[in-house]
């Protein structure tokens, strides 16, 4: 039988199953904590930092933090909101995110968060990095211009033998996530679609598939990101 712990979330006393990821526990209590690198069903990584909250006054990523007894969590101070907005702005400045012609526009988590945080003017200098579009694979395109290196694809997409389809290449500010030619050789359409769907932006695309969902019926046309968590 599961044991429950009592903790404080934005001043309210809440109950959660012991060991629950803080992002999920907060969602169950009606509080939205934004995420990008986190994805249900795959191990958390804490790499994008957008889910940073104050745990007993100390900044911690909510995706890698488990709820414990008497924990005091603050999710929405002006400083935290400004920090999250800055994370989104930096991700835009660091890559080449051209929403008008992107297949994921309207379904993109980064774009949806930019709308949530009202990112209207650049506060950081855009780097305009020269990046490639990797299109050798018969079913997938990897657009490095849009990749935010969240590693969701590395952690979440595996072939029938359990091997990852995607892998890191290069180092430092040159790091890229490539399609592994060996593990991805014989993938089917279903796995290719899963790879496209797990990417929070438009960095992984299925070949020949584009703009199938009309404007007005895309995920964030229906409701803004975070709306799925009802207080």
């Amino acid at each position: 039988m599961a044991s429950f712990v009592r903790y404080t979330l934005d001043g309210k006393t809440c109950l959660a199953e012991e060991g629950t990821q803080l992002v999920a526990a907060a969602r169950d209590s009606g509080v939205y904590i934004p995420t990008l690198c986190n994805h249900p069903g795959i191990p958390p990584k804490g790499s994008c930092r957008i889910c940073t909250v104050l745990v007993n006054g100390i900044p911690q990523t909510a995706c890698t933090t488990k709820v414990v007894e008497d924990m005091n969590v603050t999710t929405g101070t002006p400083e935290l909101e400004a920090f999250r907005k800055a994370v989104v702005e930096i991700l835009f400045a660091e890559g080449n995110h051209l929403c008008p012609s992107c297949e994921r526009s309207g379904n993109c988590e980064l774009q949806a968060l930019a709308y949530r945080y009202r990112v209207t003017v650049p506060h950081f200098p855009y780097l305009f990095p020269k990046r490639d579009v990797e299109a050798w694979h018969p079913k997938l395109v990897k657009d490095h211009n849009r990749c935010i290196q969240c590693k969701r694809c590395i952690r979440g997409i595996h072939n029938a033998e359990g091997k990852a389809l995607f892998a890191f290449g290069k180092r430092g500010d040159k790091v890229v996530i490539n399609i592994d030619p060996d593990t991805s050789r014989d993938i089917g359409d279903e796995l290719a679609q899963q790879a496209m769907d797990i990417c929070p932006v438009g960095a992984i695309l299925r070949k020949g598939k584009g703009f199938d969902v009309p404007i007005g019926r895309r995920r964030y046309d229906r409701e803004p990101i975070g709306s799925e968590v009802k207080p």
Binding site: P100, S101, C102, E103, V133, A135, W136, V141, L205, K207, G208, K209, G210, F211, D212, V213, P214, I215, G216
Partner: protein, 484 residues
């Protein structure tokens, strides 16, 4: 003493351009040029992108007629994905695209006639510039101005229903469309919500606009017939049976007397018939018909050209107007620049009739949206945009990335005619003129405006942008400056 007159920017057109006119020692026009001073570069930066992005990416060329680029790009990619040209799509896909396109023609032509061109006609090209604009139209004729706004709105609503949004939608995809209409959307456009925004009202207003022009023509026949008239070749798509078709067809060109010089050729082979020349003083190229060469191969595109190449219009009310229009020239090609407005208004009526017809077609509610076949390495898409023939040509690698793009936009085809129009008006207006008036300079712009050039997408400043004339001596010293 030689003079150089610069009209910059040219106003009440889409985009940025300028005119330079050089007067010699005796006050004669030695040289005049219409310069396009902006550079867009879409042909280059679409390279390396996945082919299915092209219809959405290239439409960012323009905010006035993005649908034209969207559809021309999609038509080229239809060929690439093996769906063929025109007839290859499902009935629902083709009719939804056509509806989108007629909505585009309707709103863009309405914008041009009422907002951009009508102030020159209703007030006179040399009337005070303070009132010679769309606000002046609204002050003088509130009902007409309201009608103009609502006609444009209706066209935009049709685009939103078919493309997803009014500007820069995503409706056309390689091989088809991503949505058809719901019965509610269809009924709203067909019948309106109890207001004037319905298909029948648009036909009636289009007829009213034509009557307005024809009344003006009866009173100012000499000006409309003579202003900036010159013979030229004319090029457009026509339907295989010779009908006016703005969405799909074969390429036809006629000379100033109506002789066929391009006889209904498959547009996939456009490169066998058209060439482009580059000149150092403009970012815009100069296309010409290869068979006639650079000197004689230039031509006009757009409403005037289309009504010269087409044999008939396949909607009854527009056909009746077409017959009256053709009678004015005894059935011969019309080379009178200002008659472009007349032709444009007939096309507005045709677009209104086509929208009403399509909205009553059950195919627009269908669910069979996309077809694909054997993948091809390249494709050409041509459409009759509001301003004329629009060519998109893409080559796509085996990796699905675009390797080459060639875009010949409508205004590019009209480059040489617009330069000739500028030269003709400059010579008649400015030669040995003792004083250069604002009205004289606007006359030069009136000639350009008849072609409705889209130099890019800058409608935000019409009527308010400064016009500056600089006078230089033969050593390039600035002698005088005058601002409008």
């Amino acid at each position: 003493m030689t003079r150089k007159i610069v009209i910059e920017p040219v106003t009440r057109v889409e985009g940025h351009g300028k005119v330079t006119i050089h007067l010699d020692d005796e006050g004669n026009v030695a040289q005049s040029r219409f310069h396009i001073v902006e550079f867009r570069g879409f042909e280059r930066f679409v390279q390396g992108r996945p082919y299915w992005e092209a219809p959405v990416l290239v439409q960012r060329l323009c905010g006035i007629c993005p649908v034209s680029h969207h559809l021309a790009g999609a038509k080229a990619m239809d060929v690439v994905v093996g769906a063929g040209t025109g007839e290859g799509l499902t009935p629902t896909a083709e009719k939804i695209r056509r509806l989108m396109h007629y909505g585009q023609i309707f709103q863009s032509h309405s914008l041009h006639f009422f907002h951009l061109a009508s102030p020159d006609l209703l007030f006179g090209y040399d009337s005070p510039p303070e009132t010679r604009n769309v606000i002046g139209i609204a002050m003088a004729n509130r009902e007409l101005a309201t009608q103009a706004v609502l006609m444009r709105k209706y066209g935009q609503e049709v685009i939103a229903a078919t493309a997803g949004k009014k500007i820069h939608g995503t409706g056309a995809v390689p091989g088809g469309v991503n949505k058809s209409l719901t019965a509610e959307e269809r009924d709203r456009l067909l019948k309106g919500d109890g207001g004037p925004l319905n298909a029948g009202q648009m036909v009636a207003w289009a007829q009213g606009a034509l009557e307005l022009f024809k009344d003006y023509y009866r009173k100012h026949k000499d000006f409309i017939d003579r202003f900036s008239s010159f013979p030229s070749n004319h090029l457009s798509l026509v339907r295989k049976d010779g009908a006016l078709d703005l969405y799909h067809g074969v390429l036809r060109a006629v000379d100033a007397n109506g002789k066929r010089i391009l006889n209904d050729v498959d547009y996939q082979e456009y490169l066998q018939h058209l060439r482009e020349e580059v000149k150092s003083w403009s970012y815009m190229k100069f296309p010409f018909l290869k068979a006639l060469g650079r000197e004689n191969g230039w031509y006009r595109v757009g409403p005037l050209a289309r009504l010269n190449t087409a044999d008939f219009i396949p909607t009854p009310l527009a056909q009746k107007e077409f017959e009256g229009y053709k009678a004015a020239t005894g059935g011969k090609p019309n080379n009178m620049c200002m008659h472009t407005h007349w032709a444009r208004l007939i096309e507005i009526l045709h677009a209104a009739e086509k929208m009403r017809e399509l909205l009553q077609d059950p195919d627009i509610l269908g669910g069979d949206l996309v077809v694909k076949g054997r993948r091809q390495p390249e494709g050409v898409g041509i459409i009759e945009a509001p301003r004329g023939t629009l060519i998109h040509h893409f080559r796509v690698g085996e990796d699905d990335l675009i390797q080459m793009a060639n875009l010949i936009v409508s205004t590019t085809h009209n480059n040489e005619p617009m330069n000739r129009a500028v030269n003709g008006v400059a010579r008649s207006m400015l030669t040995k003129a003792r004083e250069i008036t604002e009205g004289m300079l606007n006359a030069v712009e009136v000639a350009i405006r008849a072609y409705d050039p889209c130099l890019s997408c800058a409608t935000h400043a019409y009527g308010r942008m400064p016009l500056e004339v600089l006078l230089y001596d033969d050593r390039g010293q600035l002698l005088a400056r005058r601002r409008k």
